[in-house]
Amino acid sequence: MEVQTLSSPWQFTCDLEVNFESDEKAYIVYAALNVDKELQPDKVKRVMSVSNGKLAAHFEAVEARFLRASFSAFVDVLTLATRTIEEFSPEKGL
């Protein structure tokens, strides 16, 4: 996390990258989490992308507490989506 010194109101930013080692898996998580928009778009922005088997999420917020709340909730569902893939991927021969 870092605090930008620019005069933009989106002072608080944070980046997260998860390596799924597969574009397909990264995209599954991307598609699952991209459905839910940020609840306060005037206070927190979230942008996600997929490349080289990695899911990247970039957060910008006007206050640290919004960034923290949004990031924390995101990590919860990201972990859930990842665990769902790990446990129920057809590759596991379920």
């Binding site: 599954i28 598609a31 699952a32 459905v35 859930l80 989506a81 769902t84 057809p90 379920l94």
Partner: protein
């Protein structure tokens, strides 16, 4: 014989997380669930409840599949509660379904929680055209089916009846295991004195928050002065709340010319409520349909069954639209197509000139 249609359903709108497997004829192949139980005196909050669901949802999926004896290949659609309910807990089911849908290449069906309670109650009891009383911790509605949707005839104007009971259980610091309402019901059986409480029926609607405030403020002094026992208070609260529910249900029956009542929702497994409603129904020459805690308390099978009905009629929810929403009215957008079919038959039998309007928006 053609293959049975099978749905996997996820429910997690409140403090229960459940995953169920059902077939189109309503057979429940499995229906495991786990309840988030808070310490006495405490309610459940969104964040903590969501964490509970995060922890239990995947083991429940495994258990549901194993018990049902099916593999993901056998599933026709994945159903989840779209709303109404608490946001963070709802998101857990939605996220799992979105991932599984992509992994297993299965369509998604978003389901209205309230409609699911009604559909489950109908398939389990076989009730044809009942007035439905839907009573739970989050909802209190008197519903009847008319012209393609479930219509709300009366409802609470503030808190749900189950919320009133749950919060009173916190005043007495009763256990939340298995549920606060169950423990109030057991204690109420020992009540001997009826304590007067406000009675708040407003036309077709009911109000519970004033009754709760009244009993919250008077309980302590009445108990301290030995005017009554906790059992008397539980008994009096149940009698008052349930009398109100029976009154508005009876009024809805008069409106719709219906004889039968179906009770669904978590409070629906209260045997005293069932008894009071049964008496009223029998006086009107009808009967009461009710279910036990396996079906009337939130569960995955009710979502699976309702979603499968919609899917069998060609409806599904694209991944990009598989949102969840805290507010979602019973009469808002979802229509029960199976309900419509049954009702069409029913009205034909009655020989009524019924002008049918079809709403098929999910």
């Amino acid at each position: 014989m053609s293959k049975r249609m099978i749905a996997l359903g996820f429910e997690g709108s409140a403090n229960k997380i459940g995953v169920g497997v059902v077939t189109l004829d309503g057979t429940i192949l499995s229906n495991p669930r786990h309840t988030y139980i808070t310490p006495p005196g405490h309610g459940f909050l969104p964040r903590e409840t969501a964490h509970h669901h995060l922890e239990h949802v995947l083991p429940l999926v495994k258990s549901a599949l194993t018990t049902a004896g099916i593999t993901p290949d056998d599933i026709d659609c994945l159903c989840y509660t779209k709303g109404p309910g608490m946001g963070a807990p709802l998101q857990v089911s939605a996220v799992v379904v979105r991932v599984l849908s992509q992994l297993w290449k299965k369509p998604i069906v978003g389901v209205n929680h309230c409609v699911a309670h009604i559909e489950m109650g109908r398939i389990v009891t076989g009730a044809v055209d009942p007035v439905v009383l839907y009573v739970s911790g989050g909802n209190t509605q008197v519903i009847a089916y008319s012209e393609g949707r479930y219509r709300i005839f009366g409802e609470t104007i503030d808190i749900a009846v189950g919320n009133c009971l749950d919060r009173f259980a916190r005043v007495l610091t009763l256990s939340n295991d298995p549920s606060p309402g169950y423990n109030i019901e057991q204690l109420a059986k020992k009540g001997e004195n009826f304590i007067y409480l406000p009675y708040a029926v407003k036309g077709m609607d009911v109000s519970f928050s004033g009754i709760l405030s009244y009993i919250e403020t008077t309980a302590e002094e009445k108990l301290q002065s030995n005017e009554c026992t906790p059992a008397d208070l539980c008994y009096s609260l149940q009698e008052t709340l349930f009398a109100m529910l029976v009154e508005i249900t009876e009024r809805a029956m008069a409106h719709c010319d219906a004889k039968d009542v179906l009770i669904v929702g978590g409070v629906g497994c209260n045997e005293r409520l069932q008894e009071m409603m049964r008496i009223m129904c029998s006086e009107r020459g009808g009967r009461l349909y009710s279910t036990d805690d396996r079906y009337c308390i939130d569960n995955g099978a009710m979502i699976a069954y309702t979603g499968l009905l919609a899917y069998a009629h060609g409806l599904s929810t694209p991944l990009e639209e598989s949102i969840f929403t805290q507010r979602f009215r019973t009469d808002g957008s979802t229509c029960s197509l199976e309900g419509e079919r049954i009702h069409q038959q029913h009205y034909k039998q009655l020989g009524k000139n019924h002008n049918y309007v079809r709403y098929a928006v999910l």
